[in-house]
Symmetry: C2
Subunit: 100 residues, 2 copies
């Protein structure tokens, strides 16, 4: 049970969900997202984590992107917003009562 062995409570499986949530607050590019996740998690996700995650979300049609020079600013597509709402409901039902 990895989440209590010292690296308690990582976000296994919920990374995409967290990214969608963060992007719903404010459009960001990859590094900004990584930094924002670092604040929450305590550790900055590696490039090999963040970019494949973004690619997956993009492939699912959940992201809008705007390229400007070397940076790509991501936001939520309408499909992404819808997916986030559904995911939020499930997340809330599953973890209800834990956050007090």
């Amino acid at each position: 049970m990895r989440e209590f062995g010292g690296e308690c409570c990582d976000m296994r499986g919920l990374l995409g969900f967290l990214i969608l949530f963060l992007l719903s607050k404010k459009p960001m590019h990859g590094q900004e997202i990584a930094n924002e996740l670092a604040k929450r998690r305590g550790e900055k996700p590696s490039p090999g984590t963040i970019y494949p995650a973004l690619k997956s979300l993009k492939d699912l049609g959940f992201l809008s992107e705007e390229k400007e020079g070397k940076t790509i600013t991501y936001g939520l597509s309408p499909k992404g917003e819808k997916a986030l709402e559904i995911a939020k409901k499930r997340f809330t039902r599953t973890f209800l009562g834990i956050i007090t």
Copy 2:
């Protein structure tokens, strides 16, 4: 990204955490825990999921148990309560703002 492919938002990596939380509310045996998880998740975890998870938590010294016939009622040990508090803090910091 499995959590949006149709089986959105499973609890990957947070199963042990959820079990500790449930047991902090009320001591339960394996099947009760599985049923309680079913309510939250929508799907009942299989025996191959729930019992290894309980074993891990037990091996970590987080559970107290009381055997009575064929059922084993689990509760939290002092060590388990402490671990839950720490895990709750991390969870809250990570997912703050998502549950509205």
